[in-house]
């Protein structure tokens, strides 16, 4: 079937098999390989992208279900090549990653979380990231990064 969606602001269209998963569309058709296939069973969250602004596990969404919709991956977050999104900057500043495999999904889950709850408590950050596993178990710095990003984004809004 013909599937067309907006990926990071760019229209991407392709004829794909009906059973094509969104993660494969994003990686192989749109050529954006940040979203990882980790567990492939909607447990680990490495494949998390935004679908119409909400975090989803793209290994458990058909490309056909995203037809006509807007997808954002971690590659589409920054406003320019020299500027990171506040969540990306906070992950860098707080060392919110070790091997980096979970990071694209973790960042997108954090962006979705902060959209829904701009000033989360530490406990809300931890429960808000329940759907993302870090096998390096670097959770403390990830939580710290999300809290720092919340503060930075609030500061930007006030300016």
């Amino acid at each position: 079937m013909k599937v067309t969606m907006t990926v990071n602001g760019r229209a991407v269209a392709a004829e794909v098999a009906d059973r094509t998963l969104l993660v494969h569309f994003v990686r192989e058709v749109a050529g954006l390989t940040a979203a990882n296939v980790g567990c492939d069973t909607s447990s680990c969250g490495s494949c998390t992208v935004l679908l119409d602004g909400q975090s989803v596990k793209s290994c458990t969404v058909l490309a056909a279900q995203a037809d006509g919709r807007e997808v954002v991956t971690v590659e589409g977050l920054a406003s320019g090549p020299d500027e990171l999104h506040p969540v990306q900057q906070a992950f860098r500043d707080e060392h919110g990653l070790q091997c980096g495999f979970c990071t694209p999904g973790m960042v997108m889950a954090a962006v979705s979380l902060l959209t829904e709850n701009p000033r989360p408590t530490e406990e809300q950050v931890r429960s808000g990231l329940e759907g993302n596993l870090c096998r390096c178990t670097g959770y403390h710095n990830i939580v710290r990064a999300v809290l720092a990003a919340a503060g930075a984004m609030e500061g930007m809004e006030q300016r």
Binding site: M1, R19, T41, T60, V61, L62, A109, G131
Partner: protein, 272 residues
């Protein structure tokens, strides 16, 4: 891991969905959020030949106050249930339990109708719907019918829905007794409940204590007879037939049911 090949059809109305289901016959399945069905298809536990995507039927996504009851569209996501101000006021049990399903990503995609139609005894919402004495509305080739929650869940992944019939709406009477609690025992954050308990007033329903969600009838009778909550909870395992599996054996689950029902009843009484 991708599903076996199938034909994807997209419905733009309930009527069209029913028509497509009729054309697809026994090998067609409705696809809502897909968070139960797609994992099963990837593992080849389900191999439908036709998927009818009902995910764009906006007419089935709503939460409405209709005098004495709350009407919830089958396609309403767990996220929308969990963040609904109306539900927080009128049916906090449902709002809270929906917020305990899976994780945020799952709650963005998963729907109440999908969860109920899937009929997994480990699912959270079937027991909640049972405790709330809801009525389920289905539409099929022969018209519309209503099924009480007590008659809806028939067994392991088995419901009262006939082939080609679509769950469209859940109608929940506003509870007279506002005491409520939801207990979910898991080993890790996003696991299914090893055992769960939903309490609304004197109604008590159990997650994962048999092939289908069930009411803890002996507990309810004891409560109705004036027993103290802690004494009533001692009856929680009566009439249950939980499985032995990798997470827990039968005796452990029965013990958990007694403990969690006691906790649920105690917590619920702080909310009247």
């Amino acid at each position: 891991m991708i599903p076996a090949p199938f034909t994807y059809r997209r419905a733009w109305s309930v009527d069209e969905a029913l028509e497509l289901a009729g054309q697809g016959g026994d090998d067609a399945k409705f696809l809502a959020g897909g968070h139960s069905l797609l994992p099963l298809m990837k593992l080849r536990f389900a191999v439908p030949e036709v998927l009818i995507d009902i995910g764009r039927l906006g007419e089935l996504s709503f939460i409405r106050d209709e005098n004495g009851s709350i009407a919830v569209g089958a396609l309403t996501s767990h996220h929308d249930l969990a963040t609904s101000g109306l539900l927080a006021r009128e049916l906090p049990l449902l709002a809270h339990a929906a917020g305990c399903v899976g994780d945020p990503q799952v709650r963005h995609r998963g729907t109440i109708g999908g969860s109920l139609a899937h009929g997994d005894p480990a699912g959270d919402l079937p027991a909640v719907i049972l405790a709330l004495d809801a009525t389920l509305v289905a539409r099929g080739p022969t018209g519309r019918r209503e099924v009480g929650a007590a008659e809806f869940f028939r067994g392991l992944f088995e419901t009262a829905l006939a082939p080609g019939e679509l769950l469209t709406e859940i109608r929940i009477p506003k509870p007279r007794d506002t005491a409520w609690s939801f207990q979910k025992f898991t080993k890790r954050a996003i696991d299914w409940a090893i055992v769960g308990v939903a309490v609304q007033g004197g109604s008590v329903a159990l997650v994962n204590m048999g092939p289908a969600p069930l009411r803890a009838a002996a507990v309810e009778q004891a409560l109705a007879g004036g027993a103290a909550p802690a004494d009533a909870a001692a009856h929680a395992a009566e009439g249950t037939s939980p499985v032995d599996d990798i997470n827990a054996d039968r005796g452990y689950r029965q013990h958990l049911a007694r403990v969690l029902v006691a906790r649920a009843l105690a917590e619920s009484r702080t909310r009247t």
